[in-house]
Structures are given as structure tokens and as C-alpha cells.
């Protein structure tokens, strides 16, 4: 019975953390959906750890808890792979941004010096736009 309390509380806390993160817009929707789904699967198992016993017998695992552990490890591995993939993509994106920035800085530096009269005219039109 003690075990059930432990797992149930863990499941609840997990779900609450996810909910709070989503509520504060700290998690992108795609991750929110993923972790929300995980929470919803984990919660009933927290209250009834023996829920999976029948399923586990079918696939040859003695205890439902072992099955949950096994699936949990597989799931975490998949999540890690996914995050590596995301990081690779982000690095590629920041690399492109860094290159763009360097190119732009070079272009700006090589621009012909601006004509002061034109700059003044431009600024005046900006002010006029702002006032409108």
C-alpha cells in the first residue's frame, strides 16, 4: 500500500509540473503534448501499479512493474535521441544565423558613406510617420 502512495504522488506531481510549465508558456506545444500524454499514462499506473500485470503476462514479463520499467527506459532513450536531433538542428540554425550576421556586418561596413542631406530627409520623414 505504501508503494501505491509513493507512485501515485509521483505521478500527480509529474502531471502538475507539466501543466504548470505549459501554463507559463515554458514548453513548446509539441513537448507539452508529449509529456502530457506521458503523464496521463503514468497517473493510473501510479494508483494501480498492478494494472499492467495481465498485459505483461501476455508478453512474457513476470511483473507489470518490470514492464513499466522496461518501457520507461526505452522511452527515455528515445527522448534522448530526439533531443540530440533537436540540438543538431538548432546548431545548424544558429550557424546559419551567425553566418548571416557576419555577412550583413561586412555589407554594412562596405556601404558607401551616407549623404548627410539624405539622412536628414529620411529622419524627417520617419518623424512625420511617427506623428501620423
Amino acid at each position: 500500500m505504501k508503494l501505491t502512495v509513493l507512485t501515485a504522488v509521483t505521478g500527480l506531481v509529474l502531471l502538475l509540473i507539466i501543466f504548470e510549465l505549459v501554463r507559463r508558456r515554458q514548453l513548446r506545444e509539441k513537448y507539452a503534448v508529449l509529456w502530457g500524454a506521458v503523464g496521463i499514462v503514468v497517473l493510473p499506473l501510479g494508483f494501480f501499479p498492478r494494472l499492467l500485470d495481465t498485459v505483461s503476462h501476455l508478453v512474457g514479463v513476470v511483473s507489470g512493474v518490470s514492464l513499466v520499467l522496461f518501457l520507461g527506459v526505452v522511452f527515455l532513450l528515445l527522448v534522448c535521441v530526439h533531443l540530440s536531433w533537436e540540438v543538431s538542428r538548432l546548431e545548424e540554425e544558429t550557424r546559419t544565423l551567425a553566418e548571416d550576421l557576419a555577412l550583413l556586418r561586412t555589407e554594412v561596413r562596405n556601404l558607401p558613406p551616407a549623404d548627410p542631406a539624405q539622412v536628414l530627409a529620411h529622419e524627417k520623414s520617419q518623424v512625420a510617420d511617427d506623428q501620423r
Binding site: E99, A102, R105
Partner: protein, 233 residues
């Protein structure tokens, strides 16, 4: 202009304040009609200022990307400004700019030309795992190219407009990707790759690493990159 072609020399430089000024000066002295772009790869020293004083165009990356990142920036600059030929030259002064016209001429019959150290001219020796790596790379890539490529990791290389266009879009940023994977990709896409023998000089600054652990690691990474680039789409 060299033989009617607009040529851009790209020098990737990371903390090379000791040598980049001399290298830029030498290239501009030897080849007054080409433009020189120094890509400052997030240096913490005065590389950028030194290169600018020497008369190069400067592109400064906000943080260190490695040679691959610096070079794609160089190729993008070359592509956007309509250069016919982009040539990579190391900042450490190993590459003699007098060979540049030879590389440009060789582009008449090729899309990509490597200035190679072991191809008869000059003397350059390496030993141990680093040498094995170079032997394997050279054997595999020569076979793919249908011609001898003896120095596949040379940083002295020339690309024609067609290749520049490809590199402006795609150029690997990983270590050794910029040398090995680039060649594999070119050869798999049926670009013509040739080599031109060049003499390399001792670098003006910086020391080559001779640690056995490092060169073994180099061998392993070279093989991983080689195999990956063969199977990658």
C-alpha cells in the same frame, strides 16, 4: 582578375594575429587583381584588426564555428558577389600564393582543384596514424575520382562557380567534414576534382601536433567521417 576570371581568396582565421597580416600582405602583393576575404572565426585576439590593416575584406563571425563554418561564409560571400573562382588559403602562411594562377588554370578542366603537397613538388613528411589516415583517404578518394588525389586534407583548394554555388548552400561544419566529406559529396555528384602539385612552406606561427593520441584520434575521426559521408544522402 586572373585570365578573365574574378577571383576571391578566402582565408579562414582563428586567433592568427601573428601570421594573418603577413599572409594577406603577401597575397595582395603577389596577386594585386584578386580580392581577399578574411573570415575571422570568432577570434579572441587582434586577427580582425591586423587583417583589415593589411587590406583584406573582413567578415567576422560572432563565435567560433570551425573551418567549415568560416568557409561556407566565404563561399556565400563569393557567390553573392558574383565571383567566378573562390580559393581557400590557410592563414598560417603555409600556402604560396604564386600557385594561385596554376590552380585557377586547372579549373578549366575541373570543378574543384586541390593544391597537393605530396604530388612531386616540395617535401612534406608525416608519420604514424596520421600518415595511415592520409593513405586510406587518398586511396579511397583517388579511386572515386578516377585520378590521383594524394593530399585530400590540404587546405589549399580552388572552386569554380558551379562548386561555389553548391558550397554556398551546403558546406559541412564538422571537424574534417570540410575536407573529406566535401570531396566525397563532390565526387558522388559527379563533379570533376583534380589536384595540382604545390610546395608548402613551414607555417609562420603555431605548431603542428605530433602527439600519438591525437593522431590516433585523427585517424578514427577521419574514418568515421569517410564512412558517414559515403552513406549520407
Amino acid at each position: 582578375m586572373i585570365n578573365g576570371k574574378r577571383v576571391l581568396i578566402v582565408i579562414p582565421a582563428w586567433n592568427e594575429e601573428a601570421s594573418v597580416g603577413h599572409t594577406v600582405g603577401e597575397v595582395r602583393g603577389e596577386l594585386p587583381d584578386v580580392d581577399v576575404l578574411v573570415v575571422d572565426d570568432g577570434s579572441g585576439d587582434r586577427t580582425c584588426e591586423v587583417a583589415r590593416e593589411a587590406g583584406a575584406i573582413i567578415a567576422r563571425l560572432p563565435y567560433n564555428l570551425g573551418v567549415g563554418g568560416a568557409m561556407r561564409l566565404g563561399y556565400r560571400y563569393g557567390y553573392e558577389h558574383g565571383y567566378d573562382v573562390v580559393i581557400q588559403v590557410d592563414a598560417d602562411g603555409q600556402h604560396d600564393p604564386r600557385y594561385v594562377p596554376k590552380l585557377v588554370d586547372a579549373l578549366d578542366e575541373a570543378d574543384f582543384v586541390i593544391g597537393a603537397r605530396f604530388a612531386g613538388e616540395g617535401d612534406y613528411r608525416v608519420r604514424g596514424p596520421r600518415r595511415w589516415a592520409m593513405t586510406v583517404l587518398s586511396a579511397v578518394l583517388s579511386r572515386m575520382a578516377g585520378t590521383r588525389l594524394s593530399d585530400t586534407t590540404s587546405g589549399f583548394r580552388a572552386a569554380n562557380r558551379r562548386t561555389v554555388e553548391l558550397f554556398a548552400r551546403w558546406y559541412p561544419v564538422e571537424y574534417l567534414g570540410d575536407t573529406i566529406e566535401v570531396l566525397v559529396r563532390l565526387l558522388r555528384s559527379r563533379y570533376v576534382v583534380r589536384q595540382v602539385p604545390v610546395t608548402m612552406r613551414p607555417r609562420r606561427a603555431g605548431i603542428p601536433s605530433h602527439s600519438p593520441i591525437k593522431s590516433t584520434l585523427y585517424l578514427a575521426r577521419a574514418l568515421v567521417i569517410l564512412v558517414l559521408s559515403m552513406v549520407r544522402r
